[in-house]
């Protein structure tokens, strides 16, 4: 319980041929906790997420999952990606098949599970996200919010311990946002660790147990909402008056 589920230690990461995205960053994510990552556009949120899922490798520093340093061979990566599910900002990037069912089954199939288990996971995930009624519709006929839920279902079916969501509320209306938050809370209640990048200060204030604020690839502040938003530098950075 005390061991953080994910931890970065002095991580520096640069995209090939681009500016440094993360500089000597050290942050921890506690198991079962609701963490919000904030910062202006280009502050390194998306890069941080890409590192957590093993999509990118840091040039220096170390990343730990449940105390074990990440390794980047095929088997370890598959294990990591099962444990850390990643929901991308744009659902069009994530949904590869025009069939909802096929798309959701993709993750669990990659885990090498038997067919019956995959089917039951797919059906449970679809039900949990209220997508069962839409099964017969092609993905390109779904609304933006429904596509977003489809992406989350695809991750849930892998039964990850951590779900990382990159700006999940972007493009959603208020009601869809509330529904999504309810779903997330439900998952949190089942012990899933949630990490969300967002610009929504109000949401962060009432939802997050821990807030991480990034500034140009560096850690500006980490702590509870009260502590973080009291900080003058954070207020300036996020434009809070």
């Amino acid at each position: 319980m005390n061991l953080p589920i994910l931890a970065l230690q002095n991580v520096t990461f640069t995209y090939p041929g681009a500016v440094t995205a993360l500089k000597n960053l050290s942050v921890t994510f506690a198991r079962g906790q609701r963490t919000v990552v904030m910062g202006r556009n280009g502050s390194g949120k998306t890069s941080l997420f890409a590192l957590l899922n093993g999509l990118q490798r840091p040039q220096s520093g170390a990343i730990f999952f449940a105390g074990n340093r990440l390794r980047y061979d095929r088997a370890s990566l598959l294990q990591l990606r099962q444990a850390v599910g990643m929901v991308f900002q744009d659902p069009e990037h994530q949904l590869f098949s025009a069939s909802l069912y096929e798309d959701v089954s993709f993750g669990p199939m990659n885990l090498g599970l038997p067919e019956a288990e995959v089917r039951s996971r797919v059906e449970r995930a679809l039900e949990l996200l209220d997508l069962t009624a839409l099964l017969e519709r092609p993905v390109h006929d779904l609304s933006y919010g429904q596509k977003k839920r489809a992406c989350i279902a695809g991750i849930l079916a892998m039964q990850p311990e951590v779900i990382v969501l990159d700006e999940p509320f972007a493009g959603l209306d208020t009601i869809m946002t509330h529904d999504l938050i309810a779903t997330l809370n439900d998952l949190g209640g089942h012990g899933v660790t949630l990490i969300i990048a967002t610009h929504d200060v109000d949401f962060a204030r009432y939802w997050a147990e821990e807030i991480i604020v990034l500034h140009e690839g560096e850690l500006l502040e980490q702590g509870s909402a009260e502590e973080v938003f009291r900080c003058k530098a954070v207020q300036r950075e996020l434009g809070i008056r």
């Binding site: 899922n53 999509l55 095929r74 990643m86 025009a98 096929e102 990659n110």
Partner: protein, 271 residues
């Protein structure tokens, strides 16, 4: 809401999009793709092997009947879909009948040459057969395309052992068609909003920019897609399950009977 409604109305849906919406919303959607595929395979073979032109016409008529009356595809939309390939077909069959030999029925003397375009009567049976075979195959394939969504056809192909790479390409290409048309529409609207098509010359430049933009978007998107697949454990093989459909014995039997009937006719009826 109002804006969204208005946007949808004036758009004349592209043919692919129309096929897709029929495929997802027809009465025979729930029938196992295997039964439909079985019938389609038999009818296709029968239509292409027939030696008497009446048989493929009968197949064309039956398959159209199944599409319109069975699956409930509106006839107006069906005819519109049929019109384009039909025009091609008629034109090519007409060309089959034409010859430059003066022996046949002369139609037109080309000025300042010795050439005469004439109608070759002796080719008529061949033209008839080609036309009816193609029409039979066309209606059969249209039946399949209009009653079965492409992802289910791909699932069927996978089950009968079509190479993995081919099926994966079908699945991804099918999804990307719609993403691409979306991107196309976005850029086009943005250009129109800035009067990008107000004159012929400007329109050409805008079209070129649109094409370039689409290319860039496609490359960027491909990279994102790849990352997203990796994030879910992609390992150079697109593994997924298709939804299970109930395979009705009665449907299979009906498809088999009708298909065998077509084959029997094709085999037995001589010109």
């Amino acid at each position: 809401m109002c804006a969204a409604k208005e946007r949808k109305k004036p758009e004349r849906t592209a043919l692919t999009v129309r096929i897709d919406s029929y495929a997802h919303g027809n009465r025979w959607r729930q029938i196992h793709p295997g039964s439909k595929g079985f019938l389609v395979l038999f009818a296709l073979i029968a239509a292409l092997l027939s030696r008497h032109p009446a048989i493929p016409l009968l197949i064309a008529l039956s398959m159209s009947g199944l599409t319109l009356l069975g699956a409930g595809i509106p006839w107006r939309g069906y005819l519109r879909l049929l019109a384009v390939p039909l025009a091609f077909l008629l034109w090519s069959c007409l060309l089959l009948l034409l010859t430059f030999s003066p022996a046949a029925l002369p139609l037109l003397q080309i000025p300042a040459t010795d050439l005469t375009i004439s109608l070759n009567r002796s080719e008529l049976p061949l033209a008839q057969l080609v036309f009816s075979r193609s029409l039979g195959a066309l209606c059969t394939l249209l039946f399949f395309a209009l009653t079965t969504p492409l992802s289910e056809i791909a699932g069927l192909l996978r089950q009968v052992g079509v190479p993995r790479l081919f099926v994966e390409l079908v699945v991804i290409a099918y999804r990307q068609i719609f993403i691409l048309t979306d991107a196309f529409r976005q850029i086009r609207t943005a250009q129109e909003a800035r009067l990008g098509y107000r004159s012929f010359k400007v329109a050409w430049r805008s079209a070129a920019e649109l094409a370039g933009n689409i290319l860039i978007k496609t490359v960027v998107r491909a990279r994102h897609n790849h990352l997203a697949l990796l994030a879910r454990g992609y390992d150079h093989e697109l593994r997924f399950l298709s939804p299970q459909r109930h395979l009705s014995r009665w449907h299979l039997f009906a498809a088999g009977t009708l298909g065998s009937f077509f084959l029997l006719l094709a085999w037995q009826v001589q010109p």
